[in-house]
Subunit: 685 residues, 2 copies
Amino acid sequence: MHPLSTLFDPRSLAILGASNDPNKVGGRPLAFLLKAQWPGRILPVNPGAALVQGVAAYPSLEAIEGSIDAAIIALPAAQVVSAAKACIERGIKALQIFSADIDLGEVVELAGRSGVKVLGPNSLGLFNVHSAYFATFATALDGAWPSAGSIGVATQSGAVGSYFFGMAQARGLAFSHFVATGNEADVDVADCIDFLAQDANTRMIVAAIEGCQDGRKLIDAIRHARSFGKPVLLMKVGVSSAGAQAAATHTGSLAGEDRVFDAALIQAGAKRLFSLEALVDAAYVASVGPMPSNDGLMVITTSGGVGVLSADAAELGGMGLPQISQDTAAAIKQLVPLADGLNPVDTSAAILGDLSVFARISDLALRKSEASSVLLYLAHIPRNPQHWSQLEAPLLALRESYPAMAFVAVGLAGDTITKRLEAQGFAVFTDPSRAVLALAACAAGARLQPEESLSGENTESLASRRLGPGLNTEPMARAALESQGISFAPQQTIVRVEDALQAASSVGYPLVLKIVSPDIAHKSEAGGVKLGITSDHALLDAIEVMQASVKQAHPQARTEGFLLARQLTGGVEMLVGAHHDPVFGPVITVGAGGVNTEVLRDTCLHLAPVTPAQAKVMLQSLRIAPLLSGFRGTAPVDIEALARTVARVSEIAWANPQLRGIELNPVLATAYGAYALDALIDEGV
Amino acid sequence: MHPLSTLFDPRSLAILGASNDPNKVGGRPLAFLLKAQWPGRILPVNPGAALVQGVAAYPSLEAIEGSIDAAIIALPAAQVVSAAKACIERGIKALQIFSADIDLGEVVELAGRSGVKVLGPNSLGLFNVHSAYFATFATALDGAWPSAGSIGVATQSGAVGSYFFGMAQARGLAFSHFVATGNEADVDVADCIDFLAQDANTRMIVAAIEGCQDGRKLIDAIRHARSFGKPVLLMKVGVSSAGAQAAATHTGSLAGEDRVFDAALIQAGAKRLFSLEALVDAAYVASVGPMPSNDGLMVITTSGGVGVLSADAAELGGMGLPQISQDTAAAIKQLVPLADGLNPVDTSAAILGDLSVFARISDLALRKSEASSVLLYLAHIPRNPQHWSQLEAPLLALRESYPAMAFVAVGLAGDTITKRLEAQGFAVFTDPSRAVLALAACAAGARLQPEESLSGENTESLASRRLGPGLNTEPMARAALESQGISFAPQQTIVRVEDALQAASSVGYPLVLKIVSPDIAHKSEAGGVKLGITSDHALLDAIEVMQASVKQAHPQARTEGFLLARQLTGGVEMLVGAHHDPVFGPVITVGAGGVNTEVLRDTCLHLAPVTPAQAKVMLQSLRIAPLLSGFRGTAPVDIEALARTVARVSEIAWANPQLRGIELNPVLATAYGAYALDALIDEGV
């Protein structure tokens, strides 16, 4: 049994604060349960009434005999905590708290010890359509009563979730569950996804979150759903800076850095959508017919121009248009001389003479196709009764011939024909671009496969990567990282100027001179870095100049000496870094390094740790990747060495959650290895 | 009078091939004109009937007395050319050719000499709603008859255009004109935009093109429309590679390079949209109320989550959310204690107690706001009669208080309430993100101002930039460009190896050695470039090695000597190039140069010529722009010198349309000037 089974499907429910008025928060769940004829035991608790909405009520929890599975607490804020504690003591296993602005810390701690699950505060409640269990006060149910279907909805914001529900109802979607987690003192969206993953009535999961406290838990829940073959469509509000600001004001949750979130979602194999309508569209396509099993789309169109629009949208959404074979093209051209033998297949308006030809062309195009989605552009035909009467039967027969494919019909169809097409497994859209993007969102589930080994699953083996404290100067950071196998350019640190020449002769010219100070983060700006030193004379000069300019820039800074490093030439400057994300924990970043770090902002993120193989995929996704494989006659860099460095840094980040960040910038990727030229470790406060 | 006035609004129309059957191409225009009660003189020509659809018909053109303004030629393809010639001889000023696959070259030449305008071939025709002139066979009119309004539609593809018309009709949009230009033997979309620009009934122009032959004419037409204060919403099908391929197959026109098209559109001040639905949405917002006069959007929402979604969409669409003042925020908080004092203004569900508060908060937020658009998120309220009865009157009063603002209401509203809101000047959407993007498309008209001086307007002054032939080696290209004021690094060309040391002493070390050959385009790959030569000895060595490796790579290549150039150090490597676009003519490109050219693909395009001021704006739009203004302590480059180089290359490109391309790569942008290090001129075949 799943830990949330009782929350979503109890046999008995107490309603504390049950009201006779079906418009009040305490009255609505009761009214909905009665309307749905829920077969469970409803136990209204109200000290002032023997009957509530016709149901026998109890003056108190104590007055109820027998066991109680779940309770709704619809009481004034000041009474919630003590009521919740009483419920837990009574042995109730699932609580829903509707009120906002309540500190449930104490309740959640108590609940945790007793295996009790708490939904809320500030939750709109939940419903389970297949069980007829409507434990919610959502006004959305006034407008439209849900039919039992296969879409499970988990949303943080009740307002966003119930508006999505309203939009989806208007499109005829059918649901298995709906839950609004609110302020998530205990149960969060990740828990609900995990429940829906194993629920037999749920075929796809739609989730809307504003932020989350534990990113890795969310990712694990999504991977769990994917392991059951269920696609997860997820919307996270708060992409833009303005949006993130508004989200932070609106909820208590941390928004996380949006790019980390995107990287993590791809690892989990979920598709992120960016508007409510896109979410509804994708869920609609998925509920009407089968999910596409790959990215291939066949477009059959009566208009060349709409074919082009569809091809554009396919590229935008990441779908491909598999070409049809020459044989098939020839066969199509026998039916319609003008038709292009391509995908999009342009039947041209020539088919208006005999519309059954449209379905025959489609059949030819699909027969040997690798595509698993098809878009049929019907233009005005469904609106013209004379034309439609010729086309409808052949289209339905075509649909039956390809039961595993996702079919979308695009055209100006009225409600009646739309309903008829939907019943036969066609999704119907008016706008071709939007239809393609909805198919693409569904197909993404096939493309985005969850990564097999996710972060932190063999923590034990990384124990040896733990570092001690005191890493806040470059030499100390370097020493620690070198001991973990990171390669650096040859270098030496000196405390006394007198040791400079001897150090130089062991490091070798040309060399770079850097100031060593725990107080100076940006050494270049302070005159604390000098490149291209090629002689003893130049070295001594540079030390003198550097002492003066650092003193001037940072009079108070402690200086602990100088670092002399061999100046390597050639190669590609890379950034290898890791930081501790408040939501997802350690995250590894690779990208363009040196001056290009801030100019190009060309980086790829991944939850740490990563394997060298994963690091290679990250490196290959960069815009500057061509530089790594040799460019205009230069030798390719040793990508294996670079990937090993990335993987190692990610392991160190994973094993050292106490560190705020590690940055090697630049790492010089050369044909003969990858060498860090600079290292910074941020130990936090 | 505009050259297309007769085409769009004749007083008499001959229909050659007029048919009694209102379903045939030759019968439909007559049926539509009769239905619309067009007051002009209808002249059906049909040798076999005295009456066509009840109208007196003529056996031939000759049989018609008096003057004829326009003619539709709905005849079999084989008869079209001779009929068109007869029309022109008869003095008819406007012709429409419905048939496809006809070569109208001869007809168009004859028409040009007589000031006759020809629409088609393969045109669906046109209509002018205010004149009741329906000279089209579009089946779209069967489904929905247009009301007279202010949207003018010019489309190349009849199928795309009439589907747009069908979608727009379903949204209640009203039109001034609709024209489908088809294969554009003569009249093209640009001509039609130019006509609609000066038409008194047209307030906004919607255009859909697949490609165009003369890009500068299109841009001029759009600027003409903008000069009348009319926004132009334009869709060009064929963004993706797959789309462009399909577009090329579908029409005879050249698609142009998509990025050139985008750059040109921005210069013209038009907004490009990427789906039919986005086009309909924007036209809908613009027809319901006033156009936004700036990019500022005020969002007032009952749900924080939807506020975030709206803010995200605003950022995506390029709109800003002006903050409200502290005074206003304080006043709002007096009405609703929980409301955030920000934009989006989150009224929270607290207003459900007294919904008139929603309008009062909105009024406070808008009173001193710089925003010219407002989005009101109403959630389920319009669907709840009890709630809506409280809110409707205050909302309408609010609308009246801000007549110049664009209002969008987002919520689950039925048809009745939607219609009522639209009549009062609210656009109504269900999806908040889509509503914001539609507002953003309208607001873009205010942001994108057409550039004042467009290319080629003072051609005369550029006569001195003309170059002679024979520029296909680097020294010749360099000499020609230097004579036009482009700065190069010091260099000399030698024919004999014996002259190398003397040339080196005049150029100065360190220097770069390059092979000179008209047959080798990629010198580096052939071993024809050697950097970092610092001594006479190294120079002679390098010459020897280079001779051998070039010989090996290109045994057949003619070599004409060596080029010795001073190797400048520091600075930023830039690309300055120009090419001749088949649609838009000379185009100037600036971007990241050297190795970064192909890796970063960081470029900005503009129609040539540009002024130095325009060149600076282009440079500042690059991702690598921060490198130009000094980075990590390096001195800023001489941006004025770089901009002068860009402007000069653009002038040379403009004055020399015979050249296929000019490329200076790299141009070294330094603190003390911009110096081309390499020059390539492509003289074409």
